[in-house]
């Protein structure tokens, strides 16, 4: 493997596999609904059956691709708590690794939409004085997310050194 995105300690903490399911459901809704509407419109107004078949095929291909993408994307997320910094990595093709020193964390958000709540996961976002930090960990089990937030907030307070 590429040493560029290796964890600072021995291994990455992975995010919940339920993130795959959530991503798949969201993607399925966003692909299926427009595709069904488009197919119905074409079938009723134009009766171009080849176009209906084409749209359906593209939508199906999108669903199949999305199914595998969700798995790879979820597997690519990882975070690690070092002695001094929180490291987060993600991305399959376009990879990103961000390291945020605890002393720089200004506040930590935990957010969970209805779908995420149904699957018991949440998103943890770290904010520093820089908006380009964009340190986000999705798919953390809800209890862990709250604990992580409390721990990071506490560390941010004790190591904080102003701006």
């Amino acid at each position: 493997m590429d040493s560029l995105f290796d964890p600072p300690a021995e291994r990455w903490q992975r995010v919940s596999v339920k993130l795959r399911t959530v991503h798949r459901i969201v993607l399925a809704v966003w692909v299926t609904l427009p595709a069904v509407v488009a197919c119905a419109l074409v079938a009723l107004l134009l009766q171009w059956w080849w176009l209906v078949a084409l749209v359906a095929a593209v939508a199906l291909a999108g669903l199949v691709w999305g199914w595998f993408w969700a798995a790879r994307s979820q597997a690519a997320w990882g975070f690690a708590e070092n002695a001094e910094d929180l490291w987060i990595r993600h991305g399959v093709a376009w990879r990103r690794l961000v390291a945020v020193p605890y002393g720089r964390v200004q506040y930590v958000d935990v957010t969970a939409g209805p779908l995420e709540r149904a699957y018991g996961i949440a998103k943890v976002s770290l904010h520093t004085a820089s908006s380009s930090t964009s340190a986000v960990i999705p798919g953390v089990p809800a209890d862990d997310a709250v604990r992580l937030r409390d721990r990071l907030t506490e560390l941010g307070k004790t190591r904080g050194s102003g701006i």
Partner: protein, 447 residues
């Protein structure tokens, strides 16, 4: 009603806005009225419109002046204004970040100035007194800075007057006589702007349009206007706003005085400076000229083009002068001596010419990243100001063994990014950067 009033002539300062509105209304009337009216009647209408507007302006100006009061008490300065809906702005002393004196053009005509009080936090973070006499503004500025210091505002250091014997004349910070450390001569400013990309790009477009216009007359006028506007904006922000740029060393920060139409005096506080970027356009290289912008924590960043003039640290100067100013802000930081890792030859695919100009590195004091060919920039981030560090890599970069490194600082003109460096260098640089930043924070924490 108790409290103090602003200067009575304030009522007239804003009349020009009304006159301008009257002129615009008159212009529209002329355009829409058609050509069947005599010149005399048009002139009368114009005079009536502009006169009425000016009269309205004076009336409103007088009303709003007479309903404006400011109060200074033990804890805060408060500004109450508004004719129909009363508005009250409070500035508690401990939230004061800076007190600056500005001289908008219209106010200069009346020999008045505006006192701007910047507050920490919130969107509504400025209170300005319009308008005061210079002597009053200077006295008030000094008083406010003194009170802010006493009530423990972190941004304000002990004013010089506080250490002097009581009763001594208060040295006016506005008429600061400490010798300037840098003065940008207008000639250099004009020459540098004329050969800058920002000026030449719209000028070239305009030249093309004029040449086209000679072949196909008629189409040019409309096309030229936006470019004229563009050039005007460049001249405003780069020449007019930076005219007679003077940098002085103050107790709390570097003191800037600049501007032709409206003199602006502002302070760049030492302890809130986050990072600096030094720009050098390709055409400035043979002239050995550079420009420097600065990111200041919590600075009110305006979204319009005016921000480019408030972020300016040095509008144009020789490299040794820039280095001197950098030394004023960050002791020990000298980008010239920082060892850099250069972008490898195989990264030419992502920047056919620019790869030669890309490099990044750090020493014990700062992280430095270079990039850009036509507009070369050197971003300098002192370790103590590092917010976070990120590595990114796209699929094509991975094939060539390249990656990007970014060192994040609070939002501002500085974006320290090393693009398409060798992957083997990037991880090492990132870890070194985190270690340096940690060490710098610990030093600050003990101090």
């Amino acid at each position: 009603m108790q409290g103090q009033r602003t200067h009575p002539a304030s009522a007239f300062v804003r009349v020009w806005i009304w006159i301008a509105a009257g002129v615009v209304a008159f212009g529209r009337d002329v355009v829409e009225g058609g050509g069947d009216r005599s010149l005399l009647s048009i002139l009368w209408i114009g005079l009536a419109l502009v006169g009425a507007a000016a009269l309205l302006g004076v009336v409103f100006g007088y009303l709003s002046w007479s309903f404006t009061r400011y109060f200074i008490d033990g804890r805060e300065i408060r500004l109450e204004s508004g004719v129909l809906t009363r508005k009250s702005r409070r500035a508690p002393y401990e939230r004061i970040q800076s007190v600056d004196i500005a001289e908008p053009f219209a106010a200069r005509i009346f020999r008045l100035c505006e006192l701007r009080i910047e507050l920490a936090g919130g969107d509504d973070s400025r209170l300005s007194l319009q308008y005061l006499r210079h002597a009053d503004a200077d006295r008030l500025r000094h008083l406010l800075l003194q009170r802010a210091y006493e009530s423990g505002s972190h941004a304000v250091a002990a004013p010089a007057a506080a250490t002097g014997e009581p009763g001594a004349p208060v040295p006016s910070p506005h008429l600061d006589l400490s010798p300037p450390i840098l003065v940008v001569r207008p000639v250099r400013l004009v020459v540098a702007t004329v050969v800058s990309t920002e000026f030449l790009a719209p000028a070239a477009f305009m030249l093309v349009l004029v040449v086209v216009g000679m072949v196909f007359p008629g189409v040019v006028i409309v096309g030229v206007l936006p470019f004229l506007f563009w050039i005007g904006q460049v001249i405003m922000s780069r020449v007019i706003a930076q005219w007679d740029f003077t940098l002085r060393r103050g107790a709390t920060g570097l003191h800037v005085t600049r501007g032709l139409l409206s003199r602006v005096s502002q302070t760049i506080p030492y302890d809130r400076v986050q990072a600096v970027v030094v720009h050098q356009a390709a055409l400035w290289r043979p002239l050995r000229l550079q420009r420097a912008d600065v990111t200041v924590a919590g600075a009110s960043r305006e979204t319009d083009s005016a921000s480019s003039s408030t972020d300016t640290l040095v509008p144009v100067a020789r490299p040794d002068e820039i280095r001197m100013v950098l030394g004023e802000l960050f002791a020990d930081v000298d980008p010239a001596v920082v060892p850099r890792a250069r972008a490898p030859r195989r990264s030419w695919l992502f920047a056919p010419v620019g790869w030669r100009f890309r490099s990044a590195g750090c020493d014990a004091h700062a992280f430095v990243a270079d990039r850009g060919w036509v507009m070369h920039r050197t971003d300098v981030v002192p370790h103590a100001k590092t917010q976070s560090v990120a590595i990114t890599q796209g699929p094509w970069q991975r094939r060539r063994g390249l990656a990007n490194l970014a060192v994040h600082t609070p939002d501002g003109p500085v974006e320290a990014q090393a693009l398409s460096l060798a992957s083997s260098d990037v991880r090492g640089l990132a870890e070194a950067q985190l270690a340096h930043a940690r060490a710098a924070r610990e030093v600050r924490g003990e101090a």
